[in-house]
Symmetry: C2
């Protein structure tokens, strides 16, 4: 797409610092987690689980924030709306996002709940299982949505994780309405199977009516239409949005449009260390391409390249600038 | 060595959380750092430098703490003496050390200076340049040295970094004296070229009189004897301690004893990501071997294996248990 709007993407999302630790599958069972999903946890559970986890690494996270950090690392102009507390983790989150090149000026909360953290267990297969204590991240209200910022965006992007709390859901609805008013494309990620299961009807309605661009993985897509085969799901989705990108892990991704499908290969890596952020970085590469006039096939290739970069190390933020992926 | 003392190693050291970020060599020059060294910085410099650094990853660190975490990951029984504040980074440091299996019960400070952090810039060659804000870590006083703990250790281990402050130096001297009294071996790392340059005469005296086991790298060894060639330095050191292990990066290491030398090969890795902690993990492997009755050649091989593991990812703490290195 071509546009004179200064921001390629403005996004709203949960502002989270990830706390990542390796463990075997037995730990997932013992802690009664559903592998590969995201679960919201309270303060007491966060403390207990952290105490049981092994030595950890802290890396800023948050799905939409990861996507913007990836886009900025590719060279795009982006801005983030989200809430941190004025504590140490909040300072770390803000530093990392700003240092990535993403604008982030939403004021922090003072006192009250601490900055959100996501306790992530990475199993030997590289799969990540996430436990999120939302804290201050859940305190985004409709009045925090900077409409002037969205008016200067080519694409507005939101994450399904925000559909879990009423106030963040209302903030997201307001942002979608603003985006439509000002002529920004509306992009969304389904985020998680649990999110889809909790909000299936609303999601289906928004896919039909509100979204221009949709990201989801194979399992989230299937959770939209219980009982349907994957091929039937693709048929059902096709044509509902301008672009629907369905990722299938190591099998690549399928981009559905009203005018047909594009099949995209995954990019092979020597060792999958940690899949945290793979979908977020896929969206980063795709949206960079989309806002820079690339073909859908090129968007998909860049999306795969960004996803394959992030799974070679711990955490969902690129350790080295992603711009190098543009020359390939 | 054989012993009925329950702790293989008890160590005292700076309790630090590392904040790691990749940058090119130009950044090192612009920030007027001396590449590959450790520099102490104050609060204002820490804030300014953090603001200039790219997106970062937080991993618990501290030289002696890294060594103990590595030993515990191999299966050894260890305990750490050091100071954190009761802030978020302090909780992270304590969690990570305990979760590694290291006993760490030194009470935290309340109020006052925050937990120490080390701002580490990693260049494309994998070299790390460190800037340490000591904060609460500098508040170890002689009365914090748990003599009963040292009495139950086969080896007491201290780090040269602690020689920079008067109170931590006095704490270390008290610990050395205690270790000698109770018949524990005294081990020490020279830590850094700057440390050697600042304290050369004291270090030389302690090498001659106090240390049973000494770790240093090629450059630190040379800094002990300005003007001497590396071969002359090895000749000068040989026989002064029961064991002196001199590491030479990718060229391996040389173990000097009163009865001759053992040459140890480095272990090749596909990609050197970050050398932070390479020396600390060498010491971990060596001291594990030493306290478990391995030959010096076997100690050196395990030391090299631990060092080569840690340089394949960001940060100085093993991401996966090091026990797997024992079966090779």
């Amino acid at each position: 797409m071509a546009s004179d709007k200064p921001y390629h993407v403005v996004a709203i999302g949960n502002a989270i610092v990830d706390v990542l630790s390796f463990a075997d599958d037995r730990f997932i069972d013992e802690q009664q987690m559903r592998k590969g999903t995201m679960c919201l946890i309270d303060d007491a559970r966060a403390e207990g689980l952290y105490g049981a986890m092994g030595p950890s690494t802290e890396v800023s996270g948050g799905s939409a924030a990861n996507t913007l950090a990836g886009m900025a690392s590719l060279g795009a102009k982006t801005a983030f709306i989200g809430k941190v507390n004025n504590d140490e983790l909040g300072k770390i989150f803000r530093h990392d996002l700003n240092a990535s090149g993403v604008e982030f000026t939403t004021p922090e909360t003072v006192g009250g709940q601490p900055t959100a953290r996501c306790l992530i267990v990475v199993t030997p297969d590289g799969q990540r299982t996430m436990n999120t204590y939302l804290g201050a991240a859940g305190e985004i209200h409709p009045q925090d949505v900077d409409m002037g910022l969205i008016a200067r965006a080519q694409v507005f992007y939101g994450e399904g994780y925000m559909w879990d709390l009423d106030c963040t859901k209302q903030a997201l609805r307001k942002a979608f309405a603003t985006a439509k008013e000002v002529g920004a494309k509306v992009a969304f990620t389904l985020s998680d199977v649990f999110c889809v299961e909790r909000s299936r009807e609303e999601y289906l309605q928004m896919i039909a009516e509100d979204f221009d661009i949709l990201f989801c993985n194979h399992e989230e897509a299937k959770a939209l239409y219980p009982g349907k085969s994957f091929d039937e799901v693709l048929d059902a989705l096709e044509g509902q949005c301008e672009v629907i990108a369905v990722t299938c892990g190591s099998k690549g991704s399928i981009i559905l449009t009203p005018n047909g499908r594009v099949q995209v290969d995954a990019i092979w890596v020597t060792e999958v260390v940690d899949t945290t952020g793979a979908g977020d970085l896929y969206a980063a590469g795709f949206l960079y391409g989309y806002t820079h006039g690339l073909s859908l096939a090129e968007c998909g290739r860049l999306a795969s390249a960004c996803a394959s970069d992030i799974i070679t190390h711990l955490g969902a933020r690129a350790q080295k600038p992603l711009k190098r992926l543009l020359v390939a």
